[in-house]
């Protein structure tokens, strides 16, 4: 019943970080990514960026302090769109290389993307009530974002329903590629169609300190996204390893 005689280290199963580099420097980067360092860095960045946004930026002429919700709503939306872009890239890489490693990365990004999209919608609702006058309206930006959330929630549900790892990885990679079609639609919806949601602000339409509040929070949110992906892909890797052990045990036992 010794697994080591049954199964030589499977590709993508044996290395904790998955960032397979032989160099000592690559190894230390991998160790750092898997340790608590990235999480603490992201949390400190978030606390700092939010302190700056809450304490160091003035009120907006029209909105007063409500403008500050921008510092969490917009970076959450950016983090979600970046996450879904990564799902797309890793899904393409999976379909090309058929390595379980890319499947683990794709599901990690998808789950983080769902968290950030749900957060974006809720924060937008909290911003919309006092400024627009409504918690929700079916304008194209809000509707396409709700569809975005459904697509990737569907992606996760599809995975929960499919047991066989290769089939699950293939199907979810297909959804990861096709689902990405909606991302540019969400982004462009405020320009293509009439919406209640305003179009994207640019540095020209933002008070410079507001733009800084936004940038700092965006950095913190992207660090958090990176942290979530690293942790979630660790889960995927451990689960693959558990499956491999169970399989080799069953083979040895039967």
């Amino acid at each position: 019943m010794n697994g080591s005689t049954m199964a030589p280290p499977l590709p993508g199963v044996g290395s904790p970080g998955g960032f397979e580099t032989a160099s000592p420097r690559g190894r230390s980067v991998r160790e750092w990514l898997n340790g608590p360092g990235l999480g603490w860095l992201a949390l400190i960045a978030l606390a700092g960026a939010q302190a700056f946004g809450l304490l160091a930026t003035p009120a907006d002429r029209d909105m007063g302090h409500l403008q500050k919700i921008m510092y969490v709503h917009v970076p959450a939306a950016w983090a979600a769109l970046v996450a879904f872009f990564l799902v797309f890239v890793w899904s393409v890489l999976y379909l090309w290389r058929r390595s379980a490693r890319y499947d683990g990365l794709a599901v990690a990004a998808a789950e983080a993307g769902v968290v950030f999209t749900a957060l974006t919608l809720t924060l937008g609702s909290l911003w919309g009530r006092p400024t627009w006058g409504v918690w929700w309206t079916w304008d194209p930006r809000l509707t396409t974002t709700a569809i975005l959330l459904l697509i990737y929630a569907g992606y996760l549900a599809l995975r929960a329903f499919t047991d066989e790892p290769d089939r699950r990885a293939r199907w979810s990679a297909a959804v990861g590629v096709l689902g990405f079609l909606n991302v540019p639609i969400v982004y462009m919806s405020v320009r293509w169609w009439r919406t209640l949601h305003q179009v994207q602000s640019t540095p020209d339409t933002l008070e410079p300190t507001f733009a800084w509040g936004l940038r700092l929070n965006a950095i913190a949110f992207l660090l958090l996204l990176a942290y979530f992906i690293v942790r979630r892909r660790r889960v995927a890797q451990l689960e693959r390893r558990i499956d491999a052990r169970l399989e080799s045990a069953a083979l040895a036992g039967g």
Partner: protein, 155 residues
Amino acid sequence: MNAGRRLRRAVLPAAGLLVVLGGFGYLLYGGLESNLVYFLTPSELVARGAEAYDVPLRLGGQVMPGSVHWDAPALSLTFQMTDGARAVRIRSRGAPPQMFREGIGVVVEGRYRPTGLFESSNLMVKHSNEYRAPHPGERPEALYRTLLRERSGGE
């Protein structure tokens, strides 16, 4: 392999994929023209003529300066909404959102009556993508109070 397992393995993923693709098809071809017109402009509303009467719809435009009247005892707000070419008279019940003021973009939900009055059941304020700090010496809270005074100053 029993039927339940086969369902989980083949039918559900296929159904999920169909839903995703169907959603896109609908969004891109079916819904684009009709459902994605979130609001009509006053010009489009007037051009529709009698067809636009008494049906629920959304209307969007700017609050015409000098046209706002707030009847506090009756909680009734009236103003002209314009798109630059045409103007429609709007009546809305209840206090408007805090940011409501002359010149700002608004979207109203309600019905257009043959009398030419649009009865709004829901008034939403559309903010621009501009965010600015108050001018020196100006406090946003004070700005709000001025706006509120202006709004209720009508009667």
